[in-house]
């Protein structure tokens, strides 16, 4: 079954385009592909704003020093439509963030992979735990 699916996708790939080229909003210019990061942080607040939501985390360094970071995610509108809201990421939650650091060296980065410490991704599906946008 899986093999057939892959063949199908290869055949149709040219017009089944996933994310269109005109997809994102201001990321690439901000971040440096030569400065990847991955760390664990504690959420201090989440800004549910546009054009992109920002998650503020405190990161504890090896020296025990706490550094505040700002993580840029994506527009929250899809999440809001799936039932998530401003209380969905409470202060104090530990998250693991992977992305790339700001070009200007500030404690900012994009959050491309964001998980809880148990490995579950942040904001999967709908807040009600079901499939989210139902397919007809």
């Amino acid at each position: 079954m899986r093999k057939t699916l892959l063949v199908v996708l290869a055949a149709g790939a040219s017009f089944l385009s996933a994310a269109p080229a005109w997809a994102h909003h201001a990321f690439a210019a901000e971040f440096d592909l030569d400065q990847p990061f991955k760390f664990k942080g504690t959420v201090t607040k989440m800004e549910w704003i546009n054009p992109h939501a920002w998650i503020h985390v405190d990161v504890v360094g090896d020296d025990g020093k706490v550094t505040p970071w700002m993580i840029e995610a994506a527009a929250p509108n899809a999440l809001l439509r799936r039932g998530w809201n401003k209380n969905s990421l409470p202060k104090g939650t530990e998250i693991i963030v992977e992305g790339y650091r700001a070009k200007d060296g500030a404690n900012r980065g994009n959050g491309n992979i964001i998980t809880f410490t148990d490995g579950r991704k942040l904001f999967v599906g709908s807040s009600a735990g079901d499939r989210g946008a139902p397919s007809k």
Partner: protein, 232 residues
């Protein structure tokens, strides 16, 4: 309207100087002296019932700080959305489109807008600049509950500010076909000692060719906001 309700559809605009200061104010030099008289503040009667805003002492101090630093802090200067109630008495018109299910307010300033939900009450999922508006009729008065404001808006150019706990209940009533009485009750336990009220009149624009125009002011603010980061 066929359901017997008054029809607010049309183009409206406030007169007066509430956007400068919602309290009584004398004429005075404006913050940008280069603008001379065109940038000065006119005198005007306030729209606060009873005259004073019942600030807590800390909040009163905050307002004075805001006023002193308004050139940096007034969201209007940066073309940020004016929030509620300020959007209704900006010196720009707004268009109301009233259907039997929702009532849309399209404000010319910064292309701000909001839709008043006239159906079952819906809580705001997140805080926003224009808040979440739920409306219902009390006789011929349109009553709009505005919550989930993000607290970043001011009431005017004089530093009278909001917080994320600010809650506004508006009342719109037609005095006659071309005049709307507008009242708003504001409560916020974190900065006021009691709820308070503003009240003013909003006028229907009657010029033959009057229409909502576009004031997308972001391009007028970019030099101000990002100028320091421009390549020298």
């Amino acid at each position: 309207m066929p359901d017997g309700k008054p029809n607010f559809t049309g183009l409206w605009e406030a007169l007066g100087t509430a956007n400068w200061d919602i309290r009584d104010h004398s004429a005075q030099t404006g913050p940008f002296i280069q603008l001379g008289a065109t940038g000065a503040m006119p005198a005007g009667q306030g729209i606060v019932e009873g005259g004073e805003i019942p600030y807590t002492p800390e909040a009163a101090a905050q307002q004075k700080e805001n006023l002193k630093n308004r050139m940096k802090l007034d969201p209007e200067i940066k073309c940020y959305m004016p929030g509620i109630p300020r959007a209704n008495y900006m010196p720009f018109p707004f268009q109301i489109t009233q259907s039997q299910r929702d009532i849309a307010f399209a404000y010319e300033y910064a292309t701000s807008n909001r839709v008043v939900n006239m159906g079952k009450f819906k809580e705001g999922a997140v805080d926003s600049w224009m808040g979440t508006s739920n409306g219902h009729w009390e006789g011929d008065t349109l009553v709009v509950d505005v919550s989930s404001l993000n607290g970043n808006s001011w009431f005017d150019r004089s530093g009278n500010f909001q917080t994320e706990d600010t809650h506004v209940v508006e009342r719109f009533k037609l005095a006659d076909a071309d005049h709307m009485n507008y009242e708003a009750t504001i409560d916020d336990k974190t900065i006021y000692t009691r709820p308070w009220k503003i009240s003013t009149v909003i006028y229907r624009r009657k010029e033959k060719n009057a229409q909502l125009n576009e004031f997308k002011c972001v391009p007028f603010t970019e030099e101000l906001i990002y100028g320091d980061l421009k390549k020298k």
